[in-house]
Amino acid sequence: SRQPTETSSLPAAKRFILLTNGNSPFWDTARAGLEAAAQELQLERDGFQAVLDVNDGTPQGQIDKLKQFASQRDIVAVGVSVIDAANVAVADEMKNLQDKGVHVVTIDSDVDREKFRDARFAFIGTDNLAGGQELGTAARHLRPEGGQYVTFVGRTGAQNAIERVSGFEQGAGDKFEALDNMADDLDRTRARDNVRNAISNHRGLNVLVGIWSYNAPAIVDVVRQLNRRSDFTIVVFDAEPVAIKDMEAGFIDAMVVQNPFEMGYQGVRLMKALAQDDKATIEEMLPNNGEGDGGDIYDTGLKVVVPDEDSPLNADMFGAKTEFLRLGDFKNWLAKYGLQGS
């Protein structure tokens, strides 16, 4: 029933909303992609508007926001970074939105595909599990003799944390032993404490794994203070601006970087296509849609970033879809989109 032609009855533009799971620089980059898409796809001309809505990192927050969306009349499409794949309530709210005629896609973090596939139209992003596997692969090649690692994360219960950690475990293989999975409750000072405690608590520890974006600077800060760079392999998720500087300074061995800019951009593109029933774009983005597993996923790709010099890692070690970049190239890529981090 929702056709673009009926927009004129209301003064304001109809909205596409990208609802995050929590707050991090990751979403600032996604916002940049979203705004770029709004420009390039000329949303305003078609009476649309794309906005990012930041959740507070709790399931309750996401449920409340989805409910709030359902009660508003100007929302055409919602892209959700699902806070917890197994959460029935979130999936229910997404279904409820769909029943109200709002298009729903997932971005960055998907629902449990076995249980709630029909809660959304498609998923745009990268599997965090796959990302974890690539990071584990990097660790395996950086340290062929194996090692003992600790993962650092904001909340151990968060969906992407669970997936990344278990992906890392799979990618790293048998020679690696997990010592701890430490949560800092989003407190960056505690993130540093956790690293310090891990280092003093575990003698055999030699791999430090940053799971959420701010864990990377936290790891590097502590290792730098303790002056023990040579004792640890440091591999991290995401590229916060400070983390990029840290890799320049030689303190990070490998970063697995998702593409939040692309998630924001493609998310808007898909939402616009859905809103306008633009079959061509949908077909282009999801060529195998409806044809079994994976057809409803738009992969925004992964990047593995390594330092410019002296890295034993090379492109062949990683998956075919994964982009392998030296730090210099990565920075060029960022500069191209005017980004500080990813």
Partner: protein, 407 residues
């Protein structure tokens, strides 16, 4: 008998305070209608009303507890953690009672649910009793006793959940998923929670205003020593107040895990204790004790909720950034108005001396920042100057009036 004399009849005053709050609610709804470009309240009134109701009844349930404790002269900082702990316990009991069903996402059956809910209420009662014991027997100030459980219970809940999942499912997880459809549909039903809230509010209202125990609670809050010396067992009253508060939070905890379909103590109901206290205080409860009503508290919850909902409707995206700010301002305003009404008749100087001068700058800057946020940096700068000028004038005027009165 001069007109400036405050009305003698206390219920008159209360009525006035509640009427004011009621009017404020209506005003906020009208303002939202006016400034919301989508006119959501007009086009989908039922949906909006249900949405407000959903939140108001949930906040209301544990705000009732906060109000009872505050009226009896105490303070309960632990609501958020008690909610999280109770939710965890409820899920844990379900796991104990039906481990298979919980793991395989099968229905639990009414028996299990009822037992789990009942057990949770017992735990709520035990928490309230612990507070009462720490306060009346050990002699801790209520602030400290409930601060300790605020910090401690959430952590205990996390430890419990990790332990239970490890021992029952063989894998340590930080949350327990709740699939049971029956439980979920009951806890997400707006009607059920609204009905429950209404029942509890009416019960609390009758308790406080129509029973002997209620009168004693007011007496306790108004003058603890005099209450004891009137032969009233203040320790038992405190036990009642804290037990009720904790049990109401437990009820909220049960609803929250159903609504979220997960018991996640790390994130559940963080900081909600402040919302509950704010609602009670906005509703006219005095932290000095002995003053406040249940209808006032209910209106306080409703008011806070329509304000938050209004902001969300008007600002649309990113409204939650402003939520805290506006709640803070609303709380200050509401309590300040109550305060100034009490001392009305007296002419007050708001900007006296150096503190007044600093406050002039302070408020002008605040005005400037707010204007910048709402409009633009340029208008913010204008606002600072205008604010500075106006407030300085007020200050000068006050000083002149004081000089005239003094001479």
């Amino acid at each position: 008998m001069s007109p400036m004399r405050p009305k003698a009849f206390p219920l008159g005053w209360l009525a006035r305070s509640e009427a004011g709050l009621g009017l404020a609610v209506v005003a906020v709804v009208l303002l939202t209608l006016l400034f919301d470009q989508q006119r959501t309240y007009y086009y989908s009134p039922e949906l909006s009303a249900l949405d407000v109701l959903r939140h108001t009844s949930m906040l209301g349930i544990f705000a009732l507890g906060a109000a009872i404790v505050i009226i009896s002269g105490g303070i309960d900082l632990s609501a958020g953690s008690v909610i999280a702990f109770s939710g965890t316990i409820c899920a844990t009991l379900m796991v104990f009672l039906a481990p298979e069903a919980m793991q395989k996402a099968e229905p639990l059956g009414a028996g299990v649910t009822i037992l789990a809910v009942g057990g949770t209420l017992v735990v709520g009662f035990l928490i309230g009793s612990l507070h009462a014991w720490l306060i009346t027997v050990i002699g801790l100030p209520p602030f400290i006793a409930t601060l300790a459980t605020l910090v401690g219970l959430r952590s205990l809940a996390r430890a419990v959940i990790e332990n239970v999942t490890l021992h029952t499912f063989g894998a340590r997880t930080t949350q327990i998923q709740i699939f049971d459809q029956q439980f979920r549909s009951l806890t997400t039903s707006v009607w059920l929670r609204a009905a429950l809230f209404l029942t509890l509010a009416v019960a609390a209202w009758v308790l406080l205003s129509r029973t002997v125990v209620g009168r004693h609670l007011y007496a306790l809050g108004g003058n603890e020593e005099a209450t004891r010396l009137s032969g009233i067992r203040t320790d038992r009253l405190k036990w009642l107040a804290y037990a009720l508060s904790a049990m109401l939070s437990s009820i909220a905890g049960i609803f929250y895990i159903g609504e979220q379909s997960v018991a996640d103590p790390q994130t559940l109901a963080r900081g909600y204790e402040l919302n509950a206290i704010a609602a009670a205080v906005v509703g006219g409860c005095s932290l000095r004790g002995g003053i406040g009503t249940i209808p006032g508290t209910v209106l306080g919850c409703l008011f806070l909720r329509v304000v938050i909902d209004g902001i969300a409707k008007i600002i649309k995206t990113g409204a939650d950034v402003y939520e805290g700010l506006i709640v803070g301002i609303v709380v200050v305003m509401a309590v300040a108005l109550n305060q100034l009404r009490e001392t009305s008749g007296r002419r007050k100087r708001f900007f006296e001396g150096p503190l007044g001068a600093v406050t002039v700058i302070n408020l002008a800057l605040l005005l400037g920042v707010l204007t910048t946020l709402v409009a633009s940096p340029t208008s913010g700068q204008v606002a600072v100057l205008v604010g500075l000028a106006c407030l300085a004038l007020v200050k000068l005027f006050e000083a002149a009036r004081a000089r005239r009165a003094g001479s």
